[in-house]
Symmetry: D2
Subunit: 366 residues, 4 copies
């Protein structure tokens, strides 16, 4: 396992098409464009089916990076994993998190495991495979491949697995119907949930958090089956899953460390605090440690309540529950961390317990 | 000043028309209907111009209370102050807070000031007076009258002033135009902000938080002028202001105490914690003390940022900024207090500093 | 078959709680409250799960009518069929249509069939029966009972069948799960579509428009199965179907006549014109005939296109497709009839062909 | 005046970033990219402040056209006028209308005036000039310049003037404040209306439809002042006005003709029919004539009614009135023309009478 250096850069954006911050850092030499492995972004769309801010952001980034990499925009999109999560409700603030990786010597005195990152892709799925066991199994395979790519062998060292997965459109449902097959749902909006859920179950299978056999009918029903570190986002622009594993690796010489906790519900302040503490941050941070970013999933609890009190997120026809949940969890995390520029993503099906979700924190070490 | 007993009851509701919880408490004798002075509610509408859940809740309560009070529903609405704040975004949970007041002996050993409540009304306003100095001055007069009614003489003992104020509709704007007068705004939605802002400035004037002279053009512009304890809600159903003062009074024999703090921005976790501590609650509560409810105002900071990071609430044409802000602040307060059944109301113009707002807490003493 | 007199009154409302127009007509003697059989209303909510304007309107009407009928509000709700359709998007205007029926002598010279109305109820459904064959079969029985009640024996004389049907909530889904049964869907919003669809299929079965055997899996899938005269609305306030049949009857002495046509898609202007002409209205109306109201269903075509061009209604996460469709079809019908005070209701699953829907017109004869 | 050939091409899109249709027509030689003067598009955003589908569409088009024109994307944006109108509510269908112009011989036998197009730009505005007389006067100058560019001297030959104009953002309002100046409004959303209104008044002034003196305070108040042919759209991406004049010109050798009518209100079916007839289309079209596209403006009537019946568009906090209005007028126009691929744009302030708006039709001649 070669030693790698992994960098993490958080860059505020003024709109989904704003690439100026990243370009400035490339221009100044702070970021070597050839080392960029993945970009996770929060964009200010609705996070739903017709959220075009995600693909707009990706298009803008690919166009801007193309000349820097000597590639066509299309080739840039193949080379770098772009995961845009739409929806900056409430105090959430649009931004990009850029992950870089390059070969490095691990300094002699470096103690402990440091941030590692790895990536893998599944094959393309048929529309009728989304939200079902085929998506689960293929995702599990890709998670293991991404762990190896990250230089991580112990599942306990995996703290966040970000997956980008497809959704159904009218056209895709039609295509399945034309083959005589039914899709898991005919609604584009609810297909996003199915795809996110199956992808998360794939992470759970890969990490041994749940057993290897998950049936089609368990997806979106057996909420006791979940991964504590999965974060999945569905988007219209692809038909396969892209898997990014973040964890701590003995072969990394990074200045960063990652930890996580699991929110049991959407108001689990203790879990957020615990995640911060796991990397030496929180009310009394370890000297020199600073927050880089927080990555969390939010959802409306499917049983319609939070600690015994009814919520109204699932019955609201004006605002989708994912927007409600991101706003609320974003408010809590921003309050506890002091910044709204955090990555809170909606739709936590099978990602953490029902109504809760994973929360991971990356700290920069002194 | 006669001694009074003030009660506070928080009752969850299953919908805006649900009066069963209150009726059960009246049936069991827990609440004497003749002692009800005010009802503050969170209902699950959009909190905007066309939020009919507020008037529906009031209509349902008046119809249900009428036979208990031997009054017509209309007379009930005149007797009791009903303040319904629409919008239970995110984890916020619909509920009623019922305030009762009755004459009482103050027990000999009772120490310190206890929760007092008082009420007053302004005259009806003309549409062209809303959001302007006439509304400010009349509100200030009513605040002083409500303080006297509450048995509170020191402005420092006032911890929350809830005001219900009018808004403009197309018809009301037309009526002003027909008189040759222009209203502060022609938009129903933005009139809610003007009316809330002027009402809050009236509180600030009454309590000496700001000087006595506030000009028409200061409303919605001079955000350095504000009250730390004002909470104002606009509704279509009235043309005057209803003022409810909550504070601690030496003439109260209540089992409850109130305190407050001011959130400097929408992610000011420290202020929420401080408000909780001010009544002996928080991470290590005083023995026997329990949380009854939290009353807070939320708004999108007018400068478009929170602690240096851009928010997108004011540029969102799909969801009004008041809904965004309630969701985010509601998420934070729920996380720190452990419950989503809190009263977080939107539109904090001149209520606390720009982007922040008052947060008051009522605790039950052992 | 006794001869009946059937009256139809369209009354504009100033809000969901406005009963003043109806009360004025009762006060003036224009409407005998004891003759009111049904009230169809358009209210200005979102038409979705959390549209409380419907139940608010019903509550207000029941409270207002109770003393006029010497009944409790609850008994009024049992006696009169209230069908409130939420959503007055675009130019649609909130209003009530009040149907009265009383015994009458049919005048000697009266020619032709005249407007008849009949009503029937199904039994209460279990949550797991909604959207499935049980709901279809029970509805078909109730349609036949309502035809008999209307004095109509020939299905060709039935021009509009309005049905009010239940929806699923989180609680109802839980109740089914607790019994070990799965509901047709777990989403409250999509349960509205299932319930509307199964109810419409019940009309089709009763009128012989489709064969008697419809399977569970045909609901929301076999869109070639539909009724040309069904109009179904789901609401949270009931667990059974209420069926109202409108048609022309030889035993009616009404001053009104009804006709209908079927819109093949959401822009089928010719069908609207044809429906108007069927009762002597349109560009060159028969002398003395006037429009009372138009009743139509609207929906986004499930294939995502209208006459070959893509629509975006089904991919919009900000606005539900039912709101889009009502706005568009409402705009067309209002343009062709000259008024926005028409009853256009959303969600036309199995009501007319996919993407289209029934359109019925009631004219007053000279 | 040199003779020109003006082409008009309507191209459906599958999303805001879809340029494949235009690229195919360029590839096949059907469109010469160097002849493209303007592109009017309907994109599927919300049409409000945060509608990024407009700038995304422009970015995608500029990137795609750049190599065809041998220019940078930025230079393409300067050369071609891109006007993207967000919002395809209801049956409206996303599409582009591409206008080309090139020098041509006018065939000997060509009779009558034919479609001409001209363009002009104003200078950049300061934020505090938007919605005020400076914007009006500069726009009027640009309209006259664009008429000259189109080869049109008689204002009666002008049938549609499309203007793209700026809006205010928080930053822009701050910039004005920093200069000690107040903007016409502080709300981004309402600034769109002010900018559209002032731009339309500029058209009215240029064409002599209204007198030359329009005061700041007339904007958004004196709705009796309007242009019958103005169509204005505000977008975040520019600070000046772009003016495109469409009319019939004696110096044009185009195969197309344009006509218009004015909708008096949002349900004015007769005006739509009249506009169609003005270019030989409608129920009985002239032989060989076919519809290319319809361009119309829609708005909620400011007095809250349509033909005496209340509408709810202005009181809706969930959906902006511009979306309501586009959906309704789009439904009517689609019904009368047989297609939802029409350009219906929201926000008709001072564009046609209050609540109405211009409707222009382009036909291809045989």
């Amino acid at each position: 396992m070669p030693t790698t250096s992994v960098g993490v850069f958080k860059i505020a954006t003024s709109g989904p098409g704003d690439v100026s911050g990243l370009m400035a850092m490339i221009g100044s030499g702070a970021i070597d464009p050839t080392s960029i492995l993945a970009v996770l972004g929060k964009t200010e769309g609705n996070g739903g089916v017709n959220d075009f801010t995600r693909e707009y952001a990706v298009a803008a980034l690919c166009t801007a990076l193309a000349p820097k990499l000597g590639l066509s925009p299309e080739a840039v999109e193949q080379r770098i994993a772009f995961v845009m999560s739409g929806g900056t409700e409430g105090v959430l603030s649009p931004h990009l998190t850029v992950f870089t990786r390059s070969a490095a010597e691990r300094p002699a005195g470096l103690s402990g495991k440091r941030l590692g990152i790895g990536m893998a892709h599944t094959r393309d799925f048929l529309p009728e495979e989304l939200g079902r066991s085929a998506q689960i199994a293929e995702t599990a395979k890709a998670v293991k491949a991404a762990m190896a790519d990250a230089g991580i062998s112990d599942p306990a060292d995996v703290h966040f697995v970000q997956i980008k997965c497809p959704l159904l459109t009218s056209e895709r449902v039609e295509a399945a119907n034309a083959r005589g097959n039914k899709t898991a749902t005919t609604s584009a909006y609810s297909s996003m949930a199915y795809s996110r859920g199956a992808s998360a179950l794939g992470v759970g299978v890969a990490l041994g958090e749940i057993g290897p056999v998950v049936r089609d009918e368990d997806v979106m029903r057996r909420y006791d089956l979940f991964s504590n570190v999965a974060s999945t986002s569905s988007g219209i622009e692809l038909m396969h899953n892209v898997v990014i594993v973040l964890g701590n690796s003995a072969s990394s010489a990074s200045e960063f460390e990652i930890g996580h906790a699991v929110m049991d519900d959407a108001i689990d302040a203790a879990a957020v605090t615990s995640a911060l503490k796991s990397v030496g941050l929180g009310a009394t941070p370890q000297p020199g440690r600073t927050l880089v970013n927080i990555f969390a999933k939010a959802e409306a609890s499917p049983d319609g309540t939070v600690r015994g009190f009814r919520h109204t997120m699932l019955e609201d026809t004006d605002i989708s529950s994912t927007r409600h949940a991101r706003a609320a969890v974003g408010g809590l995390i921003a309050g506890l961390s002091g910044t709204g520029a955090v990555y809170v993503s909606g739709g936590a099906e099978h990602q953490g317990p029902a109504g809760g979700g994973p929360v991971a924190v990356i700290a920069r070490l002194p």
